[in-house]
Amino acid sequence: MTGLVTASDRRRPRIRLALGSVQAALLLAVVVEGAGPILWMAKGSVTGTQELLHHPLALLPTSPQWSNLAHAWTDLQIGHYLFNTVVLVGGSWLVQLIVATTGGYALSVLRPWFGRYVYGAILATLFIPATVTLIAQYQTILHLPVLGLNLVNTPAAVWLPAGANAFNILLVKRFFDAIPRDLYEAAQVDGAGPFAVFWRIVLPMSTPILAVVSLLTVMGAWKEFLWPMLAISDPAKQPLAVALPRLAQSSDQALLIAGLFIASLPPLIVFLIFQRYIIRGVAFTGVKG
């Protein structure tokens, strides 16, 4: 592969030496910067509080306190909060997937006459980040217009607003746009209704885009903090991200680090499994994650 440094550059000893040292420094920097804090957190999660406070630079604990993880799980109820997170993330994922696929299908394939207006109104919301409508959102979940429901302290207060994601609809619609229309029309001629086309033709073909949207939404939902904090004020129902700052004020520091580590494991594992797709997705969609 040629690029910035060309093949003939690489034959010159002086440049090879310089390039080699730059790359070695780069590797060191990236390991320290990228993996370092996470490895420190892993080490800290099995280190005693006194040792953490007095020897934070130690590479390994003198005697690993594996019980930290178990204590954090039970005493700090990390397991309980983790379950709450999973419920919120799972529901948000499902709602986003339903809205993006049905909406994308209607706008791309069915194309009713009012579709272009709806699409325009959806795209317009890209200009207004959800953070600036926070108070009005809160009023909405406090007293759902027409229905009069109060969603505060229910998972739905996090699930439903997550669905109003214009970017998902944009991604899915563009993917559906690229499927040849002959396919739908042939199915229509064969007597397939709109629902059959959606269920039997469009959805089975859209695994790649559904995977991209799923990774984006799951990783994104796992990171949420401000909205879940407002929407779910009952401590027993809060997700881990909201509970951690509260626990940080009162708990044993070693257990807290163990809690932080446990909270990081699920997204880290998902990332390491799907890293190729996620990295390609970041470069491709321009979503920084």
Binding site: L4, P37, A164, L260
Partner: protein, 311 residues
């Protein structure tokens, strides 16, 4: 307006019988389209379009969200401008955004240029660089709060080894904000690196080869070829970064709670305090509306930039 003219059909000779069938199909598409759009319409009405309109309304009202609201005209806005905290918060947010540009803008670019010269292990480097982005922001912030601890924190202990410090990372009004920016840069740089890297690999190799024949050194090739080729994506990332940093909340809320001496009270933190500490929802939405105007303006510039540079 029920005739559904599809681009492929325009100009194609359409016999009479199929046309009738297509009209039926298009009517059916109107009904089916409405059914399939129902989840989208409901969700966006309740949680996107509705709240946008409601924000505008609420910024002109006094309300406690439960009882009936009272129209007060522009009182919320005048109250806002009478509050010295507004000036502090705006100044802090702009300061955060500026520091984030100074610290967080050159680093990813340099990393991406260096990574683009790798012939092996590129995948490993990408994973390592992106690792911090994967962590939940709250975890990163709490972890760094621990690193910043004046006595037992990792940073002061490490600096102590080489004879520096101790530094009051989060305890001084001067250094608290740069410390927050450092953490935010660490947490967010990985995504930017990957985007720059993708853009760098699409720079045609012939450009570099031609420059080399003309005797341009590697440094000159970075400066005169790679960076100019990247200027579109650089502008886009700059705008995205400013849009993001103007909405910063988790860092100041969890790490410093706005302190010391209000030196890290950002606009979003002030909105949160107006609403959920003071119970002044009118003033909170008034400030949200002002923030929305600024962000929407930046988004329009962003959209123009992406249109121009992606075509």
């Amino acid at each position: 307006m029920t005739t559904d003219v599809r681009p492929e059909r325009v100009g194609a000779p359409a016999p009479a019988a199929p046309r009738r069938r297509f009209r039926k199909v298009s009517q059916r598409n109107t009904v089916a389209g409405l059914v399939f759009l129902l989840p989208t319409l409901l969700i966006f009405l309740y949680f996107s379009w509705g709240p946008i309109v409601r924000s505008l309304v609420m910024s002109l009202q006094h309300t406690n969200l439960i009882g009936p609201a009272r129209w007060v005209g522009l009182t919320n806005f005048t109250d806002l401008f009478d509050d010295p905290m507004l000036f502090t918060a705006v100044r802090n947010s702009v300061w955060f955004a500026l520091l984030a540009l100074v610290i967080g803008f050159p680093v990813p670019l340099l990393l991406a240029v260096a990574m683009s010269t790798l012939r092996r292990l590129g995948g490993l480097f990408r994973v390592l660089v992106y690792l911090p982005v994967v962590l939940p922001p709250v975890v990163s912030v709490l972890l760094w709060k621990w690193f910043y601890d004046p006595d037992s924190g990792l940073f002061n202990q490490a600096l102590h080894v080489v004879g520096l410090g101790p530094y009051p990372w989060l305890q001084s009004g001067t250094w608290a904000m740069p410390s927050l920016v450092l953490e935010a840069t660490w947490a967010g740089a990985g995504g930017t690196v990957l985007i720059y890297l993708a853009a760098l690999t699409s720079v045609p190799a012939e450009l570099y080869e031609a420059a080399e024949l003309d005797g341009a050194s590697i440094r000159r090739r970075v400066w005169h070829i790679a960076l100019p080729q990247l200027r579109g994506i650089i502008l886009i990332m700059l705008l995205l970064q400013v849009i993001g940093t103007l909405q910063v909340f988790t860092e100041p809320y969890v790490m410093t709670d706005g302190g010391p001496n209000d030196s890290t009270v950002t606009v979003l933190l002030l909105i949160y305090r107006y609403a959920f500490i003071d119970g002044n929802f009118g003033m909170a939405t008034a400030l949200s509306v002002l923030l929305a105007v600024v962000l929407a303006g930046l988004s329009v510039v962003y959209l123009r930039a992406t249109r121009r540079w992606s075509s």
